[in-house]
């Protein structure tokens, strides 16, 4: 893809996002807008993994850990200070610091891909266990009780910066979430075209070559991972503010699996694909949870298996490949274009 086309695509995405942000609250009622806010927040979360996996080549199975840490930090600081701007900043900082610390052990230990995946997974599980065990009243930070399995209730909603007495209404929260989503998207796009972004792609493509050219692979990976952790923390904080509640489920395997499935299904290496997959699959799983016989884990697992086995590049790129291939076939032999064999079966 040429540069100008890439820029055009990004601009189109941003404009679409902006248009949706403005139009949606006009056509939907307040309750629906509140529900869409959740999609937007999860979209930010998706971008965090789409970035570190797609551009950094780091497969993190515990992205939920940073999401949850962001949420818990936000809740604790917001309850103690009764003010959310500082809470938001602290949440991002804590998530980023944790990612940096974990990343130091992984990247400077030169763990291989798979070990890294497992270590991030284990890290998430341990936090999940730890948080679940904080049920007693002795586990409190300031006036915020951690609450163990029940989580932290009554987290203050987002308020106007500098004016704690003035919370935003739900529609304003939707605007803020959208602004953050678009902001994160632009930020990541800027990183992508920067020198650092190109370096991280180089590391992803060929770690040894990048190292031989004199770049510090470990540091680059660590930075990418930390940025991803910070974004996940932001998403977690917004999630806690939106729900006015956070519980250990944020650290659950289901959370980390969900975001992974969204990115995989949408296509690793893009931003828009994972976002669309996030919105679509989230809507799907909400619909599924209304069915009596189905179980969201059953469906999630099924989708993940299907994507890995049949469309390893993701739904959108997979479909795009198929289309390109079909177009080429059409052009070559317009006569018998109807006999299009399935490309996917051949790989097995």
């Amino acid at each position: 893809m040429t540069h100008s086309r890439q820029w055009l695509g990004s601009a189109a995405t941003m404009l679409t996002g902006l248009a949706v942000t403005i139009v949606l609250p006009q056509v939907a009622d307040a309750f629906e807008v509140m529900q869409y806010t959740l999609y937007v927040v999860l979209g930010i979360f998706t971008l965090s993994l789409a970035y570190i996996w797609g551009l950094g080549g780091i497969l993190c199975f515990g992205q939920g850990a940073f999401f949850g840490l962001g949420g818990y930090t936000f809740a604790i600081v917001a309850i103690n200070m009764n003010e959310t701007t500082a809470a938001l900043v602290t949440a991002i900082a804590i998530a980023a610091a944790t990612a940096a610390a974990l990343g130091y052990f992984m990247f400077y230990g030169r763990l291989s891909d798979v070990y890294m995946g497992v270590v991030t997974l284990v890290f998430t599980l341990i936090i999940w266990k730890l948080i679940n065990a904080t049920a007693g009243p002795e586990y409190a930070i300031g006036s915020a009780r951690l609450g163990g399995f029940n989580g932290i209730p009554s987290v203050p909603p987002l308020n106007v910066p500098g004016d704690p007495g003035q919370p935003f209404d739900p529609v304003a929260v939707f605007y803020i979430a959208c602004a953050f989503l678009i902001g994160v998207y632009i930020f990541l796009k800027l990183i992508q075209v920067s020198r650092f972004g190109r370096l991280s792609v180089a590391v992803k493509e060929n770690e040894v070559r990048a190292a031989l050219l004199g770049y510090d692979v470990r540091l680059i990976k660590l930075l990418v991972f930390t940025i991803g952790g910070a974004i996940a923390g932001l998403a977690g904080a917004l999630y806690a503010a939106y729900q006015s509640f956070i519980d250990p489920n944020a650290f659950s395997l289901e959370m980390s699996a969900k975001v992974l499935i969204w990115v995989m299904a949408g296509g690793v290496g893009t931003f828009v694909g994972p976002l669309l997959a996030c919105f679509g699959l989230q809507a799907l799983s909400i619909w599924i949870s209304t069915l009596p016989w189905a179980n969201s884990l059953l469906i999630l697992g099924g989708i993940l298996c299907f994507v890995v086995m049949v469309l390893p590049k993701g739904l959108l790129p997979g479909i795009a490949d198929l289309l390109t291939w079909a177009m080429a076939a059409l052009r070559r032999r317009p006569a018998d274009a109807a006999t299009v064999p399935a490309t996917e079966g051949e790989r097995a």
Binding site: V118, A133, N295, F306, V308, M309
Partner: protein, 288 residues
Amino acid sequence: MDYALVVLIEVLRAVGGLVLISIGLAIIFGMMRIVNIAHGEFLMLGGYTVVLAGKAGINTWVAMLVLAPAVVGLVGIAIERCFIRFLYGRMLDTLLATWGLSLFIVGFVTVVFGNTLEGVSVSLGSFEVGRFRVAGYSIFIIAMAAVLLVGTVAMLRGTRLGLIARGTMQNPGMAAALGLSPPKIYMVTFGIGAALTGLAGGVLAPITGVVPTMGIAFIAQAFITVITGGAAIVAGTGSASSLLGSVSQLTTFATTPVIGDVALLFVAVALLRILPQGITSRFFRRSL
């Protein structure tokens, strides 16, 4: 003195527990390089086999030591045929696919059996150590772990199947050239790993209880143990279990079980920082 003996037994039990939950994974992940995230679900299926067999009136010991490994071994072979065999050599894809599988199995079992805790009762009584009482089942777990370790060594070292399996994992092309069928050997090896895991699930069921989501409790410890152990399957699992089990159990004695788990993780991560290839990359290198 009595207290020291009780602590020793409890530490050995923790070590034995780690050996049980990770020996199957050591074969599937350590030997075959398949990152089986559904490992915890294999344990869970072993537990459910014991529960269902108990409801059907089958002797608990038969269910635990015969049925659980048989059922889970067959499930493992079915999974290998349907999914894993397409993914050899693509480690990350095995990881993602088995994660999907893991979620799927949890969802499936929840839909079929409901999200309830099932208990299994076996009585081995207890015996006195000075002023303390120790459950007989602790001794059983320690013995089972020892039997499994020795049995795995004997199988890999002493039998033709073990030799063939080890050779095939090292060089499938050469094995095929010698007239063996690597796909069949992969299938059997995966089945054996699954069966050992099912056995462990059955043996642990009376302690943990059985719920669809119980796998999550084990998966982290199992992977950390195998990774910390490194390339040698039995020596790695044994040494990593001994180290991590002792650390977590002694910390548990001093504080709480949760802190014990956290200590386990920290020791493992710190160890991997020093020995990224695991314990057996430096110690016991010639062992199995």
